[in-house]
Subunit: 442 residues, 2 copies
């Protein structure tokens, strides 16, 4: 387990980067997430940066600024070349060594402060790209309240399929269309068929939706044919992001039998720019327990460390900014709140299950958690849930209504971890916007 | 369309590599497929090679041997570094330029023969790896006879789902566990549940199967949000391989609802080592037509060039070699034959559909065709079909029986294209072997 706390988690720790000490900042010195960025509009090579307050520490410039031990330099060198996968591959120890070094270097009173001040880039002046190479992307379905609500829309008497409580259901997703917060994508075309129509037509999706998910990045790999036991699974996790699994519900309904979602999901996926490491999450790990009467996980998905600290107390929030809000200068409107504590499976269980048949995971592989909805009706992690399948449109604070997303809408996911005795940390925005569809060729 | 024939297809063309002129060879000078290989057991960097008879022309040594035009050198340079994706990305023209140059260089009487003789490596002395970087792998379901037979096992009255004849059904697969012919993998563990059991158990799959498929490699990419029209789709295809989509049927049955197959497929996929280019396939392209009374494809999946030459006349064969055959020195036994002409969708339709919602395909992406079964009962492309769901075991020529694969079994896929007035070409073996499962941890 990576849940042990050390000096880097001390809530009293402050940074010489003043903005990091703002209690509202997502990126205090206790967080130190990794991203890949450069000065906006420049042709610079992409750099690995670490968020600190409203700044990003450019690790290429930081390495050049000196003051690091030989071991720290060895860990920093691939990062200075823009390669985060090497650090992911190396497992927890080098990551923690670097975390300790960065924490000391960015702390108030650090002798490196003067040299490192020149390695900061304001995040507002940066553009971001994917933080690492993603070799494979898997999407799970751990949100039992989502699965239940969506299942009810199709099967009122039997919302959860018989395998749900036993199998961490998942399927493979599309890597090439994963983008980073701030991107915009065209409303997809797809085959849709109304129940009364004899044949489907190709048309722009009219039921375009978001899905609020946690994205988990794999660190240390496992060889093909070599499952990772649950007790070791945390050591194969690197960190987490927010993830929006955009979904075209009308395309999905027509295409998904019998092999699962395809074009309804693969046109775009958005992740937040900063990977919050497993180390930063340590203070927010909580017990994993199933409600009374629910089946215990099979032995390969059950274990002491997972029960003790396998879950994660992470508050989610989804907001929408419509074109009218943007024009009027209004703040985005909140659509829902939920918490990753409610997931039916933990991150470690996802990884252990993924490998149990021998599938090899590689550094930088991305595991989506599935839509994270809370138990209450207003806590759905998608519009499909919040609008009851489109039958009950939501009314936004400015009077607009939405059943599904309209062109120009921006969806923002936010996440924040809070715990007694710990400095709260956040994720930054995971934002994506809907552009109009292309015209259907004759 | 890449269906135009040129001098490289002349059936009278012979090579100075004598084994290429053997009529039984899969690799005459009219084929010229690409693979990635090195001398077996060496630590050499992986090289791109071109198969010619029982030899492989090492393109790094071939470039160094000289005799190429400046344009040809420019095309050869990334290949000499072991990078096939660059040639894939460049689209059909550089590939055809190189094909012409290789055809002339390897033809009888070529002035380059002497210099290139030293660039040959006997295939029997080579080891192979994946021919390119595969960024995403998608598996389609174009085998209508497979879909019908498998559907009948579950839904005797309604074997094909309503979307089948309209949607090129597909789903995303796993890249990391794709291996090249000759590899072996452990029988997967997975959750299985018998109908009478109250709970599933983790156990080695007892219904391990193969699936005979064609694998299609993407060449030129498309940008996200920019669908490829069907008329242009052939220009985005690079070439094809044989593909074995190993499947654990018992795991699949329990896990696949509602999001599709996951661990039942992702433990291993095997492809043949040589990518046969779209150019080499040109003489074997045939009309694509639907039986009378079947619905026409929607307009975005229909077009003149696809109707005229969209299909591919490719004979498949599946063989099994059991441990007893191996020990007795017996030849592998044929399990089935089928033809890619029977696919419900063409390669171009798969690509056009994949991009119609805006999904971006990248050079080296792999599209599986889905299991290719023929219309007759003995033509099933999987044991699930041939043994009627395991209820009717096959008897092999040596008296052994199989319902599903046993440990030590090797499955070989073979493919061959033949046409009047053309030199036949083949694919080489696509072989994979089953190792015993790991023990289930307590």
């Amino acid at each position: 387990m990576s849940a042990c706390l050390d000096a880097t988690h001390d809530p009293a720790l402050r940074s010489w980067v003043a903005s990091a000490n703002d209690p509202a900042s997502d990126f205090p010195i206790q967080n130190l997430p990794f991203g890949r960025l450069r000065r906006a509009g420049s042709e610079q090579p992409w750099r690995i940066g670490v968020a600190i307050g409203d700044q990003a520490l450019d690790l290429a410039l930081a390495l050049a600024a000196g003051g690091w031990s030989e071991d720290e330099q060895a860990v920093l060198r691939p990062l200075a070349r823009g390669d985060l996968n090497a650090l992911m591959a190396a497992g927890p120890l080098p990551r923690r060594l670097l975390r300790g070094a960065l924490s000391r270097a960015l702390a108030e009173g650090s002798p490196q402060a003067g040299a490192l001040a020149g390695a900061l880039l304001p995040q507002a002046e940066a553009e971001f790209t994917l933080p690492c190479h993603i070799g494979d992307y898997t999407d799970f379905y751990t949100g039992i309240h989502h699965a239940t609500t969506v299942g009810k829309l199709f099967r009122p008497d039997n919302p959860l399929l018989p395998n749900y409580k036993w199998v961490p259901i998942g399927y493979h997703g599309r890597c090439s269309s994963i983008g980073v917060s701030g991107h915009a994508f065209r409303r997809p075309l797809g085959q849709v068929k109304t129940p009364e129509a004899e044949a489907p037509v190709l048309a722009p999706s009219r039921r375009l939706d978001y899905e609020l998910e946690l994205g988990v990045f794999v660190g240390a790999p496992n060889a093909q044919g070599e499952p990772v036991p649950l007790a070791d699974a945390e050591d194969h996790l690197f960190g987490v992001v927010l993830l929006n699994d955009w979904s075209a519900r009308d395309v999905q309904a027509w295409e998904y039998q019998p092999l699962g979602p395809f074009l309804s999901k693969n046109f775009a996926t958005t992740i937040s720019p900063w990977i919050v490491t497993m180390d930063a999450l340590a203070p927010f790990r909580v017990p994993f327990a199933r409600p009374e009467g629910e089946p215990a996980p099979l032995p390969y998905l059950d274990g002491e460390s997972n029960r003790a600290r396998g879950a994660l107390d992470l508050h989610f929030e989804v907001l929408i900014e419509t074109p009218r809000m943007r024009e009027a200068g209004e703040a985005p409107a909140r659509l829902s709140r939920s918490n990753f504590r409610d997931a039916w499976w933990t991150m470690a269980q996802m990884l252990a299950h993924h490998t149990v048949g021998g599938c090899n995971l590689q550094p930088g592989d991305l595991l989506g958690s599935g839509t994270q909805s809370g138990p209450a009706p207003g806590e759905g992690g998608s519009l499909l849930e919040l609008s009851l399948g489109g039958k009950q449109p939501l009314t936004l604070p400015n009077g607009e209504t939405r059943s599904f997303l309209l062109d120009g809408d921006t969806v923002l996911l936010r996440g924040r971890c809070e715990a007694a005795g710990a400095r709260a940390i956040g994720f930054g925005d995971c934002a994506g916007s809907v552009l109009p569809a292309r015209e259907v060729a004759a």
